[in-house]
Amino acid sequence: MDYVWELGALCAIYVIAAVSLNLLQGTMGVMTIAQAAFLAIGGYSTAILTTRHITTFVPSIFVGVGISAVVAILLAWPVLSLSGFIYTIASFAVMLTVTSLSTSWTSLTNGSYGIPGIPQLSVGGVTLSSTASSAVTYLVLAVLITLGFARITRSHWGIAMRGMRESVAAARSLGKPVVGITFGGYVLSAAAASLAGSLYAAFTGYLDPTVFTVTTAFLLVAMVVIGGRGNVWAVAAGSLVISLLPNLLPLVTPLSASIVGPATQVLYGVILVACLLLRPLGLVPERSLRVRPNVLQGSLSAPRSFSGRVRLLGGATAVRAPDPVGQRDAAQVSAAGADRASESGAAPARHAVAAGKQSAAAPTLAASSDSTMPALKVMSLSKQYGGVRALSDVSFTLETAVITGLLGANGAGKSTLLGIISGFIEPNAGSIELFGKDITHVSPTARARAGVVRTFQELRLFEGLTTLENVVVGVPGVGRIRTGLGLPRSVLRTAADLLEQLDLMRLANTRVQAISYGDRKLVAVARALATGARLLLVDEPFSGLTDREIERLCAIFRSTVSSGATLLLIDHNAQAVTSFVDHLLVMDHGSLIAEGSPEKVTSDPAVIEAYFGRQVEEADG
């Protein structure tokens, strides 16, 4: 019977470790083979501290967690800047380093002799002396931790993580604090794994370098992959089964003890390969947020207790979606956000903010913006790539609440301009002012929070997420710790409102990878609108849409602008743009060649010249 309890305790430890990795690998999409390193840190911290009588069990857990947290931050740092594959190799190297350190650092870890005599878990004088009591405690802990991680995955934070997993650039463009989310998730995952390691050390009473190795790390990865990436309960169940396997085999088959080990590994290997070939996302799919449409509809009509009916579009002042923190605090929130963003701006992230540049003072968010000030002022922007001038001295102004179109052929510089205004590309010269505040060197994330949000030509939707979830990620506050641990109803309301307006409600619970191209474009716009941005940069909105979809889109653009937002539509499809916008800009070969009303611009000879090519030159060879 003791044997069963022993099994139970070990399984509980595996469950905790697997669930911790699930957050990192399944939910956040970080493919890492270093999770067992945190187990080792936790295990050795407990082993060393308790056998040398430096501290008791509980403080040793905290030490382990602390060290793991530091390591986690070091490992989280390159996640956003390294390609996923190189990161995996690097994590592999880290894992091996930790294992070999535990062998070589003999003064600390006793090397390959290991550390015997680790005392049992004791909390405040009460010691778990029997296997049964340990097992029960561990199992309860496992359940609690699993519940905790499940809650995190379902919360707004979890949705933001999953969005980031699908597209970091899109998350940045929506103003999500990608660095903070990455660090936070990594530390949490490491802490839980460290705890699992400490529990293991206390339970078995002995630790040596062969316990937490690369094979362990791979096993954990396998548990996440087989169980079902992202699905906490499936991973927990899967890890339970997998950790029971080596112990069940001898009962079922007449294999001798010496070959049970290798036979089990062969079995693991075969199962893993089969799983990867047949069900690459795991046995059980990730759970999406599913809200019944009538609940969503209901949320639209229910009156709110503190600020009246929430309408994102329409209502002159509330152009910015109210986040749960409240409008009054919006300025503080954005200032803090911009500060954090300026730290993240110095991180080796993909946007081009040069190291050492100070971020601009955070643009404050007055609820009523000054309507006489232009929304955007671009001055003498230039950008050069090697010998190619992508932008030459571009200057223009966007007035508030006006729809402006930007036309130009391929290679005219539209994408470069869009990248610079949204913060994804650093200009060589020139400056940008948003409602009078200089934002030239502000990171794209901070810029998005200040009110400049862009869409992408390739859409960059969060593919594995539903339509509703995609739009939810856009809502301000989603992904920020301040928003608490759940999913506020106000967030759902904001998202539902937009779905309603774009006639996407019927697709709310459908994964976006399964919906039509036209609807996907609308989802991309809805996601951007959810941010409540004051300046919306829309990249190629009309290509590939049917006329009816174009009408729907134009209607919502008009609606957005009538409530105070400013719109810049960038497209190379002149026909659609000229008939819709109030104001038109035309670019050619990196320069702005015309500006004015659509009628004036399209009859400008310079524009016609640009479209049809210059006169054949008289010059000779």
Binding site: V388, A409, N410, G411, S516, Y517, G518, S543, G544, T546, D547, R548, I550, E551, H572, N573, A574, Q575, A576, T578, S579, E599, T602, S603, V607, I608, Y611, F612, G613, R614, Q615, V616, E617, A619, G621
Partner: protein, 248 residues
């Protein structure tokens, strides 16, 4: 006309998923002819070339290469004499110019044939001759474009589809390039279908031009005059006729 057209399409339709991108496109290019394919952006010009080259499935219609029908299932069209130079002048950046050309001629059976083809390509683009050992990744934009065309020429195609060959080039270089391919088409009898944005430049070398708009052939211009653009072109390109596009 006893010779079949080098390239002929009749009633070609193509779709991307549920979206119809080409509607009943018909065109022909004869041996030794250089025909321009122009139109506003998003009209479907690249899609049309890709469909002819076999990278986009035709959902309906007929396609013939030198009289030989090409069905949706005909793969390896380069072996039948169809050359396709996509936009952007992509090259094997790690390999030298000579090696790039060698790969262009990968399907040729003997080393002698490869060398002969290579010599011919160098005669068409002498600039490449001086850059044989140079890594393709270090070439200028114009040189890379020539290399891309040269790679296609290694297999001595009968039909050459070119997607915006002059994009990114300075006006003078663009003129030279278009002149070169014009002479190539005349001297070697290659049928060429060239998508271009620089109307005046392409009109000065093309014998005919098809205007594509919203996936349909909106017009055909015989002997296009670079100095006198047809008036309705402005409307097609810039949509200055005003009003919302009619429901399609």
């Amino acid at each position: 006309m006893s010779r079949p057209a080098a390239l002929r399409a009749e009633g070609l339709h193509a779709r991307y998923g549920p979206l119809q991108v080409l509607h009943s496109v018909s065109l022909r290019v004869d041996q030794g002819e250089l025909v321009a394919l122009v139109g506003p952006n998003a009209a479907g010009k690249t899609t049309l070339l890709r469909c002819i080259a076999g990278f986009v499935k035709q959902s309906a219609g007929k396609l013939e290469l030198d009289g030989v029908p090409l069905t949706a299932r005909t793969a390896r069209r380069i072996q039948l004499g169809m050359g396709y130079v996509p936009e952007g002048g992509r090259a094997f950046a790690d390999l030298s110019v000579a090696e790039n050309l060698a790969l262009g001629g990968y399907l040729l059976s003997s080393k002698r044939e490869i060398e002969a083809s290579r010599d011919w390509v160098v005669s068409v683009f002498p600039v490449l001759g001086g850059r044989m050992p140079q890594l393709a990744g270090t070439l200028s934009g114009g040189e890379r474009q020539m290399l891309a065309i040269g790679r296609c020429l290694m297999l001595r195609p009968k039909v050459l589809l070119l997607d915006e060959p002059s994009v990114g080039l300075a006006p003078k270089a663009a003129e030279v390039l278009l002149e070169t391919i014009y002479r190539l088409s005349k001297d070697e009898g290659i049928a060429m279908l060239v998508v271009e944005q620089r109307l005046r430049s392409i009109f000065s070398v093309a014998s005919r031009a098809y205007v594509l708009s919203r996936g349909r052939v909106a017009g055909e211009i015989d002997n296009p005059d670079p100095n006198q653009l047809p008036p309705d072109l402005s409307e097609i390109f810039l949509g200055t006729s005003g009003g919302e596009p009619s429901a399609g």
